[in-house]
Symmetry: C2
Subunit: 240 residues, 2 copies
């Protein structure tokens, strides 16, 4: 295609000079770390150290440093605050409403992870960092309740489509255990027969031909995750 | 839980003063607008007006204004550059590598849409704005090739799970037309029999009991999208 217009190019420098008041934003990262334990879904919260939000909990977050990539910042913050360094973080969504932060314009990117709490030990010393049951989360600092709700909404959509939650189960599990994880995540009780029918339509499970032992109820059949999916799941959890 | 430590609160103001060099970032929006036309997937590109990227195409993007919400900026930019004002934009991912922009630190959020080009007229006057076949996209300005590839990757994952692409088809369509759309998006030819088997396993289609007319090949059966899904798809496209 021929160029019909003679264009006036800008340089990166003149572009910046003509937009100086645009370069006044800070970017932060907020980590939405969900954990499963004792049939409950929990989220990692910390007491806000800002006077404006005194008494409120917030997600784990911090400003991105001037010399730091956005994705790197998420891992740095999680490591610094919790000691966790073997967790895959998935970027979920960026929140950029004006006025969302009292210090000035701060645009924040939310990162998400879903953990089995039995396999992850935290250093829980810092600012009342704690696992908070999702069902009991009230008001949070900043727009963190919106951020949490967006992540939950997305997780609830995805658990029905992809085998995300098998990282929360032991190697061998019963359909009862599987249903308990789903109920914790979806925040609702599921009909046992409907649930089993739906799950059986997926190619997610392999019947091991074994039964549960030492359980306080009628032993159920044991299953494992379809090995083909396990490979895909591992790839997903490790490679960004 | 009792508070074991007496905490020194910061205020929003002292927090900002101690992090002044963090508030030097600009945030931009880049729109990845994909369109389907004549069995081809295309992306909306524009000639970069930065000297540093002279001769290269870029995605449609701009800096977010100081008084503008992030999501609003995406619609403003699309409207200003193309005249399009009836398109749903989905936020996809934020790119925040240091050094990605020659003017300074600019973190960019990518927004995505998938259009049937027959239903959307653009004002194509501005800076060689044009529809570029995906298969012929070469080097792009900034990290826009990475951004485009990430969006494509996500779209290709999702079209197999969700009935996203029916907005690209007429009300009544044949399996041949459906396969053509899939092939354009996935960028690969599909085996006809395998494709039909896979599609028939979904609950997406309703057989209309009618045949194609006026086609240069053997007429095929006509289908429509399952009305239940159509409702969900509409809700998805309209409500953010």
């Amino acid at each position: 295609m021929s160029e019909r217009i003679i264009k006036a190019f800008k340089t990166a420098e003149t572009e910046k000079i003509s937009h100086l008041d645009y370069f006044n934003i800070a970017v932060s990262v907020d980590c939405v770390i969900l954990g499963y334990e004792n049939k409950q879904l929990k989220v990692l919260l910390i007491k806000s150290d800002l006077e404006e939000f005194s008494g409120l909990n917030s997600l784990l977050g911090d400003l991105v440093r001037p010399d730091e990539d956005l994705d790197e910042a998420s891992y740095r913050i999680l490591r610094e605050r919790t000691g966790l360094n073997d967790v895959y973080l998935e970027q979920v969504q960026t929140f950029g409403r004006i006025g969302r932060h009292p210090s000035g314009r701060v645009v924040t990117t939310a990162y998400f992870s879903l953990l089995d709490l039995h396999h992850h030990q935290l250093r829980l010393s810092h600012n009342d960092l704690h696992w908070h049951p999702i069902s009991k989360v009230g008001k949070l600092a900043f727009d963190h309740k919106d951020i949490l709700d967006s992540c939950l909404h997305r997780l609830r959509q995805q658990v029905l489509e992809r085998p995300l939650i098998f990282s929360l189960l032991p190697e061998k599990f019963s359909l009862r255990q599987l249903q308990e994880v789903y109920e914790a995540i979806l925040g609702t009780e599921l009909d046992r027969r409907n649930f089993r029918k739906k799950v059986s339509l997926k190619d997610w499970l392999v019947d091991l031909g074994e039964m549960e032992t030492d359980v306080p109820h009628r032993p159920g059949k044991l299953y494992k995750l379809n090995p083909a999916l396990k490979k895909r799941l591992r790839a997903r959890l490790r490679v960004s």
